[in-house]
Each structure stands twice: as C-alpha cells, then as structure tokens.
C-alpha cells in the first residue's frame, strides 16, 4: 500500500472549553470511499474543515495529498474538491458562469477552462442546464453542479459533506451512481452522512464519530461482526403478554429491544423458526417477522446506545 492520501494525527480543535474534535487519528488510502458517520455536532464538519486548512487545528497535524493544510493550504486546495453541506452557488449567474468563476479562482483560463467545464458538465449530465440561472436548479442539480466543480478542478480527492441530505430517492440514486463512477476513475472520496443506508452501499470503510472522537473505524462488514457479534437482527411484530420474555429465552438470542411498537431481536443466526415457535407457544399473536440482514443502522444504534450523552 502506498502512502495514505489523508492522514490525521492527534488532530484537536477546541472552541473555548468545548472540544469539537478530540485527538483524532485517521488515515485514508488512495482510491478509497471513506464515510464519516455520526450525529450532528460530533465533529465531522470540523474535521473536514481542518483537512482543508479552512480551520486551524488547536493541536495535532494533518497531511493531505502530501501537504500540510495549515502551511500549504493552496497546494492542498488545488488537489482537493470540497462540496459543503447544502452547497450554495450564485443564483443570479448561470451554471456555466458559476463554474467559470471557480475555474478562474483555480487559475484555469480561456479554452482550457471552457474544455474542462464542458467535460465536467457532460460527466454529471448537466450540459442541458449550464446556460440556465442556478436559481432555477433543483436541489439535485445543485449537487451535481457541485460535483462538476470538483471534476472540473481535476481534484484527486473529493470531500463531500452530507451530499445526499434533502435529495429525493431518485436523485439520491443517481448521485450515488455518480460517486461510484468517480471512484472508478481513481478519485479518493470522503463523505460525511447520517444516511446510513447510503454509506453502507457505497463506502469501503467508515468511521463512527461521537463527541469529537472516532468511536469505531473499519470496513462495514467488520464493524457489524465486531459490534453486533456477528448477529442477525430480526424485527418482530407480536401481540401478547410475556412475548418479549419468551423470545429472550430462546437459545441463541442475545438481546430483545422494543423498537417503535415492535421488537428488535439480535441473535447469532437466523432463528426465525425458533422465535416464531416461542411466540406462539406463549400464546402471543405473531403478526410479522422479518430477518433483515444486520445493517449499518443497527451498528450505529447499538454503538450509540452504549455511549452516554451521545448528542
């Protein structure tokens, strides 16, 4: 494995007495899709801003694409494309004019800039709207314009903050497809999100943030087996007194947790048949039983249950 493209060592940011990011260690390899997960206020955005050199760390250091964001921010920002949460463009300008402005800020001029912009617009399938004012764009189109900006820049690392929040399912799917194609081109992608399903489907590795620290980091599959102990999560809708206790007695069931009028059962395997028998055996009405595979959401829920005062 070559040198990681992003490395943070003991990165810390405090605001007064509040600690936003607490001695964070993080490495991201070339070509990875890396997810930063966690509740709001857990330090994801602050971490991103420190990696970009837009916020000065209180202590610790970061290396991005071989440069120090604090001392060589221009070098870092030439190589990293950033799409902030709810990305904004100048509404009174067209998509093309917005990208031209960014191109100029990046130092691209004339034909070079125009070629880059039209290639990027084609890439995100936004050519048809480039001559329209951004005020007429939908949320999804703005996001794609944000990606076009990163492509136009020729960035080798893309940092996307909450890229799919507020998108409808169709736009979200298209957007994920776009991110996959960027990964295919060898771009390293860091994204923060609270949409766990999306992260699960696209990320190679994830880091779970809590109160400025990374609680868990690793491959999605590994996290599941570590946190959940290789368990299946079975959701049950059953009526009747003592149903939960009966299920808990089934051999192999590790936990039974009420969840929105239903029960979430964690078990070492697919114990649906045993559980159904137990419910019926104690006189309960079994209305629904599903054995979804454990998802990242379960990891997340389980992890933050164990952490006091998770924001």
């Amino acid at each position: 494995m070559s040198e990681p493209v992003i490395r943070a060592e003991q990165l810390t940011k405090t605001y007064g007495r509040a600690v936003a990011v607490d001695h964070l260690d993080l490495t991201i390899e070339q070509g990875e899709v890396f997810g930063l997960l966690g509740p709001n206020g857990a330090g994801k955005t602050t971490t991103i801003l420190m990696l970009l050199g837009l916020t000065e760390p209180t202590s610790g250091k970061a290396v991005v694409a071989g440069f120090d964001p604090l001392r060589q921010p221009l070098e870092v920002k030439r190589r990293v494309g950033y799409m902030p949460d709810q990305v904004g463009f100048y509404d009174n300008l067209t998509g093309l004019e917005n990208l031209r402005y960014t191109a100029k800020l990046c130092g691209f001029r004339g034909k070079d800039a125009d070629d880059r912009i039209s290639a990027a617009a084609r890439r995100v399938k936004l050519e048809y709207a480039m001559k329209k004012e951004v005020r007429t764009y939908s949320r999804g189109m703005r996001q794609r314009l944000g990606i076009a900006e990163i492509v136009m820049k020729g960035a080798s690392i893309a940092i996307l903050d909450e890229p799919t929040s507020g998108l409808d399912p169709q736009a979200s799917r298209e957007f994920l497809e776009l991110i996959r194609s960027l990964k295919h081109d060898g771009m390293t992608i860091v994204l923060s999100s609270h949409l766990l399903e999306m992260v699960q489907s696209i990320c190679d590795r994830v880091a779970l943030f809590n109160r400025g620290k990374i609680g868990l980091m690793g491959r999605v599959g590994d996290l599941m087996s570590n946190v959940l102990g290789g368990t299946h999560v079975i959701r049950i809708d059953a009526l009747g007194a003592g149903v939960a206790e009966a299920i808990a007695k089934v051999p192999g069931v590790s936990r039974v947790v009420p969840e929105g009028g239903r029960l979430r059962v964690e078990a070492i395997g697919d114990l649906r048949a045993d559980i159904a028998r137990a419910v019926v055996g104690c006189g309960g009405d079994l209305k629904m039983i599903d054995a979804g595979e454990a998802s990242l959401e379960d990891v997340y829920t389980r992890y933050f249950e164990g952490v006091p005062n998770a924001a």
């Binding site: 970009l52 837009l54 221009l74 070098e75 920002k77 990293v80 902030p84 100029k104």
Partner: protein, 318 residues
C-alpha cells in the same frame, strides 16, 4: 507559522466577478440614477448664479462645484451625503452575503486565501465608486462647459481632479466601514442598518455633539484668549474625527483657492496680518489640507485592517 503561496492569488478573479455583479445589479442602477439626478439638479441650479459673476472670479469653473443656492446644498455638499450611501450600498453584504448564499466555504475551498476574497471585493467596490464618480465629474465639467460657454483652466482641472481623488478616498472610508460591518454581522440587514446609523451620526448629529461635548472637555475662560483658542481647537479636533468633516475641509481647500486656512483652523488676526489676500497656488492648497487627506487614508486603512483581522479569525462554517 509561515504559510506558502501568494495572498493575492485570486484577487483578479474575485474583483472582476464582483465588479460585474456591482455594475449589472439593480442596486447600482438605482444609485446611478439617484446621483445623476441630484448632481445634475445641483449643478443646473448653480450655474445660473455662477454665470452672474463671470469675469469677476478667475476660478469660475470651481464655483460650479461649490456654490449652493439655498435651500439646495452645493454639488460638493450633495456628494458629502451621497458618497457614503453608495459605498454602504456596495459593501454592506460583501462578506455576510457569501455566508448567506452558502457560497463562502465553497469559494474558500478553491486555491485562494481569504485575503484574496476580501481584497478583491474591496477593490471591486472601490473601482465601482471611482467609475461612478469619474463619470459624474466628467458630466459636471461637460455641463459647465456647455452652459458657461468657456473651458476650465488647467489649474481648475488639477484642482477638480484632486477633489475627485479625495472623493474616491472618502468613498473608500465608507466602503471599508460597510465591509467591516458585513464581517461583524451575519445578517446583511443588520450590517446595512449599522452602517447607515454611523452615517446618520456623522452626517447630521456630529456637529451637535461637538457643540455639546467641547465645553465639557475644554471649558473656555472668557477672560483668557489662550483658553478660548484651546476650546476651539478641541472642538475642531473632535469634529475631525468625522470623515465628513475631513472630506468637506479637503473639498473646500481644493476647490476654493482663496482658502488659506481661515475656515480650517484657528487663525488669529495677528497671524493674517501682512498676508496678501488672493488665491493660493495649487501646491499650497494641497499642503494646507494634507493632514485631512492623510486622515481620510488613515481612517480607511484602520477600518480595512480591522475588517481584515476579524475576517481572518472568523469561522468558515455557517
């Protein structure tokens, strides 16, 4: 810790974009209309009076700028009011506007420093003011030539050019103030109101304040001429904290060659004794108001520096 790369990266790009925004905005259309109508009105009404004294005054052209026919103020008086308004209109949403449009972090993620953004925005505002004032200046000169039927002398051109530069510097002070408020306040409306309050304070209430404060700070002894002079000087000192005072004194010296300090400070009759009355050469007029001009530049640099430091320390996240 030293940082690498030029602080001026992107200044040109930011400036051209902001300039295009300024010049094409509806806001600018309104302001241009306002200043041209008032400017033309002031000059038109003045020229009738100025025509009466053709042949009596070698600097007849400059009178077009300075003569006011009550109740209308002179053209210079109008500019004293209007320049701050233009500058505030151009600057009040400079920085907070980027936050409110959520473009700030995206722009700062491009390979430029914050310096480039602030410099570019400021230069674009200043260039816009300079363009508007130069156009207005040419317009007034043209109107003067047409209506008076004679061209300005070369000294009149120099003097009025010096006045133009002073007017642009005065605009720079207010632009820096407006941008400072745009850094301090996240809401553009609050920033605009704050800047307009400062303008109101200096344009209308400052003279009253001077009258109120001066006797408290430096009470005058009716039997002691030195203490009276001291009182007047303290009063002038306070008055000159206002950029409006600095601007009107500068305009007076540049546009009225006969001004030799009698309206700009305390000159005792003994000091004027033996002085030959008559116009000062241009260089002497410049020397006379150099402190005021320097004061305008100092105010501008001070305000811009404060804005710069606050902006550098500001958190990028909205």
């Amino acid at each position: 810790m030293p940082r690498e790369g030029s602080a001026f990266a992107g200044v040109g790009a930011v400036m051209m974009k902001e300039l295009a925004d300024n010049l094409s905005s509806t806001r600018m259309r309104l302001l241009e209309g306002l200043i041209f109508i008032t400017g033309a009105g002031a000059v038109y009404s003045t020229i009738g009076a100025v025509k009466e004294v053709i042949g009596e005054d070698p600097f007849i052209f400059l009178r077009v700028f300075t003569t006011g026919i009550p109740p209308l103020p002179s053209f210079v008086g109008f500019l004293g009011f209007l320049i701050p308004i233009i500058a505030i209109a151009l600057g009040f949403d400079g920085v907070n506007g980027e936050f409110n449009r959520r473009t700030m972090s995206r722009i700062l993620a491009q390979p430029i420093y914050r310096d480039g953004l602030l410099f570019g925005k400021f230069l674009a505002g200043l260039a816009t003011i300079a363009m508007a004032l130069t156009a207005l200046w040419l317009f007034v000169i043209g109107l003067g030539i047409l209506m008076l039927g004679l061209p300005p002398s070369s000294e009149e051109v120099w003097r009025s050019l010096a006045f133009l530069i002073a007017a642009i510097a005065y605009g720079g002070v207010w632009l820096a103030l407006a941008m400072l408020f745009s850094v301090i306040f996240r809401s553009a409306a609050t920033a605009a109101l704050a800047a307009l309050s400062v303008w109101l304070l200096f344009a209308f209430f400052w003279q009253m304040l001077v009258v109120l404060i001066t006797p408290i700070l430096a009470p005058a002894d009716p039997y002691n001429i030195a203490s009276q002079v001291h009182t007047v000087e303290v009063g002038l000192g306070i008055a000159r904290l206002s950029p409006n005072t600095l601007f009107s004194e500068t305009a007076l010296a540049f546009l009225n060659p006969a001004e030799r300090g009698q309206n700009l400070g305390v000159l005792l009759p003994a000091q004027l004794q033996g002085a030959i009355s008559g116009p000062l050469p241009f260089g002497e007029s410049v020397a006379l108001v150099w402190p005021q001009v320097a004061g305008l530049f100092a105010a501008f640099i001070l305000l811009f520096t404060i804005a710069y430091v606050l902006f550098q320390r500001q958190e990028v996240r909205a």
